[in-house]
Amino acid sequence: MNRRTLLASAAFALGLAGAAAAQDRVKVGFVYVGPIGDGGWTYEHDKGRLAVEAHFGDAVETVYQESVPEGADAERVMTQMALSGADLIFATSFGFMDPVINVAQKFPDVKFEHATGYKRADNVSTYSARFYEGRAVQGLIAGHMTESNIIGYIASYPIPEVVRGINSAFIHARKVNPDVQFKVIWAYTWFDPAKEADAATALIEQGADVILQHTDSTAPQAAAERAGNVYTFGQASDMIEYAPKPRISSIIDNWAPYYIERVQAVIDGTWESVDTWDGIAPGMVGIGEITEAVPAEVKAEAEALIAAMASGEYHPFTGPLNRQDGTPWLAEGEVADDGTLLGMNFYVEGLTGTVPQ
């Protein structure tokens, strides 16, 4: 044992003492990458935290930290949380991956949950949502609703999560409308509402009459409302204030059931390291109300798709599917494996443009 681990374990011992002193309430920490007021990603995670508080009442104490930069600061924040006696820590951004693993090594008795990552340990679980299932629903509705056959897509950065969403939406839009085309704008920012507004406007001006977004602000909704006959979908939160038009449905991040389940596991002493990738079925991916602006038969078709995915009888990435360059990817009836989906950085056949590399 070198000096460093010695110090760490000394610190750890102190942490334990602190935890013991603070009664036996379970303490749950949340580390957020953005401010709670971002109205999107972090906002929804914090709703999950509040649901935990409401569900467990006095049995659980939650603490949180907003706007934590990915890197050294994240490691410090989590260490301090662990030192303060946290039993379970949710790290809610991909960039917290290495810090989580580092801190988890120092505190083997503290449980960690890391969102959207792929590194696990005995005391580190990972969890993520199959948002592409929701994208499939959006693609289907969008393919029906478009009259110009041009669907605009506002993407953030070219990471697998975003590419997967574009592919899933495109596949299902093409299925119901073979003439449909996607125009993709990469905003190259996680957060700049004004730029999202400009991107939406540019897409609308170039003929798009349905806008899909992988950015969290309502700016595209407002741009669509101004333009008139343009449809949009809520992202991250329901954005119901723009219903029934332009917002005709939405993908809602719903972390509450998972958070409650995991906290319960800690209370029961049954917590184990798991890899969770949940979709529509357990409710981690919520589909917001499909409004009356959508024709009844389209709505019925969308609901059938939702049901098929929820029951597991249908997977959005089912062959035959080719890659963009025409090389076969999935044979007839073959279903994409999670590994390929997790690292997806290619377009499927039919999409134009390239994934920025």
Binding site: P193, A208, A219, Y242
Partner: protein, 310 residues
């Protein structure tokens, strides 16, 4: 690739909207800097204006009141800077940066209850037949009031600085505060007024973002627009007309690059994303390389501390 899908008239109309927040903030900052004060807190004042305007518009249901409140909020915050730098003679660069930090935090505190709320919309003026003129109608006569207000403000500031006596005094204070003081002008008072004007303009620009352009409240939603406004003032070498040019150039390239992406132009996205900044630098280099013109036009007392010793 389908560049034909880009309609220049439509593009021009969108760039006017996109440029308005930075134009408003920049024209205010121009007046501040003309008076010899460098306020780097534009971002902080913009975001404060954004939330104050948003909150008042939502509470009263009246967006016009929201805009007025945003101006008041921006001006009030700017006076914190004004008192620190003019009365207590603190360093302007550091105080301005502190103002940005404070404004970002303060706005987020006020805004906690306003996430996910949709603000009331400001009605667009109906310019009747003017808006139906081909091309020109779309570019010039299809906007909301604030866009026109921004343009009017540029003209007003230009005329004020150039033709009026108070404008002359303001410039004199910015060029040589000791001489202006010796002539009996109230340097500190004039500067405080200029700072408050700059704050009001920045607040208005912020509220334009939160009430019109986005419209939504989220923490940190100005996302650096205040910094661009500061750069535009320098770009303009402290001339009102060129503030307009700079804001439209920046806004134009920003909108154009998104349109080029949508049209499928095969240029790396990173390069397109960086293009508004690169083009602004490039144009400034070309302008300032032209030695025939007096490219360096910075107010001589800019950023210097004034203390009336006699």
């Amino acid at each position: 690739m389908d560049l034909g899908a880009i309609n220049p008239a439509v593009l021009a109309a969108s760039l006017m909207v996109a440029a308005t927040p930075i134009l408003l903030a920049a024209i205010g900052e121009l007046v501040v800097e003309k008076s010899g004060v460098l306020n780097l807190g534009v971002e902080g004042m913009m975001i404060t204006g954004a939330i104050v305007g948003f909150a008042i518009a939502v509470e009263t249901g009246n967006p016009a009141l929201g805009f007025l409140a945003a101006m008041a909020g921006g001006a009030a915050l700017s006076l914190v800077f004004g008192i620190l730098t003019q009365v207590l003679m603190s360093n302007q660069v550091a105080t301005g940066l502190a103002l940005t930090l404070f404004g970002l935090g303060f706005s987020a505190l006020i805004g906690q209850g306003y996430v996910g709320v949709k603000p009331p919309a400001l009605a667009k003026p109906d310019l009747g037949p003017l808006a139906d003129i081909p091309v020109l109608g779309r570019v010039l006569f299809s906007h909301d009031l604030i866009v026109y207000l921004g343009l009017a403000l540029v003209v007003a500031v230009w005329a004020f600085l150039r033709f009026t006596r108070p404008g002359l005094i303001l410039r004199a204070v910015g060029e040589n505060h000791d001489a202006a003081h010796a002539l009996g002008y109230k340097v500190v008072r004039i500067r405080l007024a200029a700072i408050a004007f700059g704050g009001a303009c920045a607040g208005l620009g912020g509220a334009y973002l939160s009430l019109m352009r986005v419209p939504q409240w989220t923490e940190g939603m100005t996302a650096g627009a205040g910094w661009i406004a500061l750069a535009i003032v320098v770009f303009a070498s402290w001339r009102a007309g060129r503030v307009l040019l700079g804001a439209y150039l920046f806004g134009g390239v920003a909108v154009l690059q998104l349109n080029l992406q949508a049209a499928g132009l095969a240029v790396p996205v990173e390069l397109l994303s960086a293009s508004p900044y690169l083009v602004t630098i490039l144009v400034l280099v070309i302008i300032s390389a032209d030695r025939g013109r007096a490219a360096l036009n910075a107010p001589a007392s800019l950023g210097r501390v004034f203390h009336a010793s006699s």
